[in-house]
Amino acid sequence: MPAPKQLAERKELLAGGHRACAGCLPMTAMRQMLLTAGKDTVVGCATGCVEVVTTIYPYTAWRTPFIHNAFENSAATISGAEAAYVSLRKQGKIDKKINFVAMGGDGGTYDIGLQALSGAMERGHNMLYICYDNQAYMNTGIQRSGGTPKGTATSTTPAGKVIPGKTQFPKPLTEIMIAHDIPFVAQATPGYPKDFSDKVEKALAIDGPAFINVLTPCTRGWRFPPEQSMEYARLAVKTCFWPLYEVEYGVIKINRKPKEKLPVSKWFEGQGRFRHLFKEANKGIIDEIQAEVDRKWELLLKREELTQA
């Protein structure tokens, strides 16, 4: 597994000059993924920020083959490309080893693309799906998604006088993918580059489908200054809101267990989308979220113990 320094010395496969916002962690995730995967990688991406900022014709930031098809079908599109590869390889028309990576944001994965993702994983294509989860439909203007945390103020769940942001907990997508019984599932974030890179490498080495859910803070949607993106990525892990863990053939391994588990409010502080939660009237919401984070973290610890036994 390469060290970050070694990765940094590799040829950059994502050209500069693309149109992402300053402090955009989805783009950091792309760079880290590409440095790990290398040039013989076919990348597909759902409609969303990453596709939009990297491919405005006649320019492209991709130095690997890249395909965008539509919003809900990144997994299906790459499953087709992979099937073409399998077919042409069987016929002796192509020889080299090629990686297949499909991607989508949380909207394109938790919501509209879930069916295509589920189907592709069940069919067992040799591909990696990466969800760059920035917890709302950022490209269309910060609307709530199935991955948006409870309490979040978004354009469609504003912090109003009566309703204080999103009222539901997010869909447990990583667990849904674990339930698909595929060889490899993980959670990561570019805030911990080596951890993410190692997971990409492992996922691509495995024969069969793999899924990584990557938490990628969004300066515009989360409402924090752009230079703090990495810090917010790490705080999500330190508060156990976003545990770093991987599941290889059913065995859970937690990659990072904070010595001191920070309260979830530490992650909320400074994010404009959670500002209203600190009002006296909404204090109960933070407590409720904290209880849910605690419950899931304890459960994860137990599941790790159980599956490793």
Binding site: E51, T55, P65, F66, A84, S87, Q115, A116
Partner: protein
């Protein structure tokens, strides 16, 4: 050497697909397309083909995976019907816009609702503006021939557009007919190997597929697509002629059946044309100057052939098997009117028939011809529609 086979329309399409042996076939089941894919799955299971079959979880993914596979340089086919076509609609449009030469048999079935599994043309007529070439088939023989020709039309570098080969659900798909098929070697030589210009798998010369294309280029790309569709007219004809030399069955944009001196002409698509030919033969024997104009290629639209086929007509009955709600007449009628605009004074009458699989008989078509005789010379409002075989 031709082989005489006894097959349903679905099996005829599957037989052509066996001989084409695409690199990738994507598939999701929907009646009445199902048996086509059952047959092809048997070929895969028995090792008769090398195709990689991707058994997806929806038609939307069937077309999405087809787009992915075609972008990776594979020769790709899929098949569907009605609601399946409707579900993949978004990507149907993208496949054409990305200039991917996918060939897709579409077994015509009425769109829901109410749900109905039988034939009409609402599914393919609904996506007549998606940028796909549309070849309509009269019988199982034409299904087989059109699928084989579709590959060459789609992959022609001057065209590079996907092709729908349509045939009427149950009427053709589930009816056993006798047809002549090419032997395997001739069929293989006919389709040849496919080599795409760009491929996702070419990692040494990486290309970006499906980029964001805004105000400054989208329009030019659409213009190129229009040119591709315009070029298809010549290619459909030249492929049809070449196929005639190979098989003895030449094809054009239309089949103008006894239209040269016809006073009264019926325009139709699909299996109804077989029924209409019988009526034309019967009425010709009675001394009536009647003819049939069968549209084979609805996209691109056969403008020149329509004008030639209707040159002598005093009255034209246009048979539509789908509705264009709120429009003056059905989709075929509107386009015939547009084609004839300013060319003379033939009376054009629109007939709506066969929705949801409602049968159309010899008598129905005879009645149309008899009515045309009485209507010749009269002015029929463009939005006047007559119904065939409808109660009340």
């Amino acid at each position: 050497m031709a082989r005489r086979l006894t097959l349903t329309g679905n099996d005829a399409a599957a037989e052509a697909m066996r001989q084409i042996d695409p690199d990738v076939v994507t598939c999701f089941p929907i009646t009445p397309q199902t048996e086509l894919m059952h047959k092809f799955a048997e070929f895969v299971a028995d090792g008769d083909v090398k195709a990689e079959m991707v058994l997806v979880e929806s038609e939307h993914s069937a077309m999405s995976a087809a787009v992915g596979a075609a972008s990776a340089g594979a020769r790709v086919m899929t098949a569907t019907s009605a609601n399946g076509l409707a579900l993949m609609w978004e990507i149907v449009y993208i496949a054409a816009s990305n200039r991917l030469p996918i060939v897709m048999p579409v077994v015509n079935r009425a769109l829901s609702g109410p749900i109905n599994i039988h034939c009409d043309h609402s599914d393919t007529m609904g996506c007549r503006d998606t940028g796909w070439i549309q070849l309509y088939s009269e019988n199982a023989q034409e299904v087989y021939d059109n699928v084989l020709q579709g590959i060459l039309i789609a992959e022609n570098p001057e065209v590079l557009l996907p092709v729908m080969v349509t045939f009427d659900g149950f009427i053709i798909s589930h009816t056993v007919e006798v047809l002549d098929a090419l032997d395997d070697k001739d069929a293989r030589d006919w389709v040849g190997d496919y080599k795409s210009t760009y491929s996702l798998l070419n990692t040494d010369e990486p290309a970006t597929f499906g980029p964001l294309d805004l105000q400054d280029y989208y329009f030019e790309h659409k213009r190129q697509q229009i040119e591709g569709m315009n070029n298809a007219t010549g290619v459909i004809k030249s492929v049809g002629e070449a196929y005639g030399k190979l098989s003895g069955r030449a094809y054009g944009m239309t089949e103008n059946y006894m239209t040269d001196d016809a006073d009264y002409v019926v325009v139709a698509l699909g299996s109804t044309c077989g029924t209409a030919k019988v009526v034309v033969d019967e009425m010709r024997a009675e001394g009536k100057r009647v003819g049939l104009l069968k549209i084979r290629s609805f996209r691109p639209f056969p403008h020149a052939e329509i004008l030639a086929g209707l040159a002598s007509a005093k009255a034209v009955g246009v048979l539509d098997r789908s509705v264009s709600f709120g429009a003056p007449g059905g989709p075929v009628h509107k386009e015939i009117l547009a084609a004839l605009s300013g060319t003379g004074d033939a009376t054009v009458v629109n007939y709506l028939y066969g929705l949801g699989g409602r049968d159309i008989s010899l008598d129905h078509i005879r009645t149309v011809f008899e009515e045309l005789e009485t209507l010749a010379g009269k002015t029929i409002p463009a939005d006047e529609v007559r119904f065939i075989g409808l109660r009340g």
